[in-house]
């Protein structure tokens, strides 16, 4: 059994969609207060793993524990422990920014007296306070993203899942967000689990990285450990060595053309 500092643990996790094995027997552990990144190309199975961790999808097989709860059996207790920012949009566009935050507060039973201050602080953080009475349908993509991040933090979860949180954000907001997330992790001991396909982001923010490709974890550890394991100098080289060098057969997994294209370009540049 995992020791008591482990807050997320997955054991031999599998998710099959018909014939597609989206997640193919992965196991990992995340410690309390750690910032952990899933790094991998499109279609690697990152979102599917997060959806299983957050009770959205039932695993085909395998075991999952969150903050001491079995995710499939004790859904509601597991749900109290985490916050999530989905990869896909998940706001009610017909409501205002403030109403979206307030609805979230109700869903997580945050006391009424604490709501206004907390909502204001978070909306100020993501620089949306001056628009709190605007309908979400009038927001730009980046503004929606920022609102979703603020919302995910509202109930001060023990674990925060971020599925490609910085997609579509400008550099400035991206830095602001990561600064705040790191602060939460260091000051409040919040555990952060995020996915990305930006190497720089994983390297700069994460304390530990798991590289996932075609539904399996091909390597994991700190940047230094990953370089050591692959006998390379940078995370980029390690990543390429683990996932990119062999160009995958397109028919094997349908939607990774974009990444293969980038890889091909990079490989050419490296030669």
């Amino acid at each position: 059994m995992a020791d008591e500092k482990t807050i997320i643990s997955a054991h031999d996790l599998v998710k099959r969609f018909g014939d597609v094995k989206a997640v193919n027997g992965i196991s990992f552990e995340v410690k309390k207060g750690e910032i952990f990144a899933f790094l991998g190309p499109n279609g690697a199975g990152k979102s599917t793993t997060i959806k299983m961790l957050t009770t959205m999808l039932r695993p085909t097989s395998g075991e999952l524990r969150l903050a001491g709860h079995d995710v499939t059996r004790e859904r509601d207790s597991a749900r109290k422990a985490f916050g999530i920012v989905f990869q896909d949009p998940s706001l009610d566009e017909e409501l205002t920014a403030y109403e979206n935050m307030d609805l979230h507060a109700s869903l997580y039973s945050i006391p009424k007296s604490k709501r206004p201050a907390r909502i204001q602080t978070l909306l100020e953080l993501v620089e949306l306070w001056n628009r709190h009475d605007s309908y979400v349908k009038t927001f730009s993509g980046g503004m929606r993203r920022r609102l979703e991040i603020a919302r995910g933090l509202l109930h001060e979860p023990k674990i925060l899942f971020l599925d490609e949180p910085t997609l579509g954000l400008d550099t400035q907001t991206r830095n602001l967000m990561w600064d705040y997330v790191q602060k939460l992790s260091h000051e409040k001991g919040m555990t952060i689990f995020f996915t990305t396909h930006y190497l720089e982001e994983a390297e700069a923010v994460a304390e530990r990285i798991a590289i996932i490709d075609q539904g399996t974890i091909v390597a994991s550890g700190t940047t230094t450990q990953l370089c050591k394991q692959t006998d390379t100098k940078t995370l980029e080289e390690a990543y390429l060595k683990l996932t990119g060098r062999t160009l995958r057969d397109e028919s094997e997994s349908g939607n990774n053309d974009g990444m293969n294209f980038k890889m091909a370009l990079r490989n050419r540049r490296l030669r």
Binding site: K51, T54, T55, M56, L57, R58, D76, S77, R79, K80, F82, I84, F86, D88, P89, S90, L91, D92, E93, E94, L95, E99, L103, H104, S106, L107, Y108, S109, K112, R151
Partner: protein, 248 residues
């Protein structure tokens, strides 16, 4: 505040804010009342059947509720497609409560629409048979709104896209309405049509409302209420069952 109230409020906000939906959904019943009520009314009278508008109004109120409830399902579908459902489903609130809160909202909308059609009909010349029975008719309206909203929610949980929902509208809502005896009395129709109508749960909703509002009934109010109760249990089970199965 309880989460049921919060979710109900969300539905109400969306309803009030979409002014076009509010007006658009009243267009059809008004059109039906004018075209059929006045258009066919004259022939109906000559055939010795009495006042057609009196006969028609309960049917049109039911149609309004049916349409409103099924189209309310589109909100669930929107939530599913545009992601808000994910936000609700990962929250530490049981799915049953999410479904109930939203469905009570949908039912409230149907009740408002049905009531508005009642008053429009009144302006067009409809008069309730006994004013004392109108509160009872309102209770029947509430009951069938909840049942049909559950039906809409269950259907929306099953389909994946808006085209699928359009298909359901054509294949299900139209027949349910036209074969419910909302537009014509069932005593004089060919046997096959009567049999089909007898199997249609909406028929009994129309019949109950017609008994209470116009003093006419084909099956009798007791049978109507029994079948409505069965319908309610079936649609509620259907909705809960389908909603529980949603995976995103």
């Amino acid at each position: 505040m309880d989460i049921l109230v919060v979710l109900w409020l969300r539905q109400m906000r969306r309803y009030v804010r979409s002014g076009s939906r509010l007006l658009g959904s009243l267009g059809q019943p008004i059109l039906l009342l004018l075209a059929l009520g006045y258009g066919i009314g004259a022939i109906y009278k000559r055939a010795g059947e009495g006042n057609y508008l009196q006969f028609l109004v309960p049917g049109i109120i039911t149609q309004t509720v049916l349409l409103s409830a099924i189209f309310w399902g589109i909100i669930i579908l929107q939530d599913k497609r545009f992601g808000f459902l994910a936000e609700m489903l990962v929250a530490p609130v049981s799915r049953l409560r999410i479904l109930l809160g939203s469905a009570i909202g949908g039912a409230t909308i149907s009740i408002i629409q049905g009531t508005m059609v009642f008053f429009i009909s009144f302006a067009l010349g409809f008069r309730p048979h006994h004013w004392a029975l109108v509160p009872a008719a309102f209770l029947v309206l509430v009951f069938m709104s909840i049942a049909l909203t559950c039906f809409g929610a269950g259907l929306a949980s099953m389909v994946e896209d808006f085209q699928g929902f359009q298909g359901i509208n054509n294949l299900l809502v139209m027949p349910l309405f036209f074969l419910s005896g909302a537009l014509y009395p069932l005593n004089n129709v060919p046997t096959f049509l009567r049999i089909i109508s007898t199997c249609n749960p909406v028929t009994y909703m129309v019949d109950a409302l017609r008994y209470l509002l116009a003093g006419q009934s084909h099956f009798g109010i007791t049978k109507d209420l029994i079948i409505m109760t069965i319908t309610f249990i079936v649609t509620l089970t259907f909705a809960v069952n389908r909603f529980n199965r949603i995976e995103i």
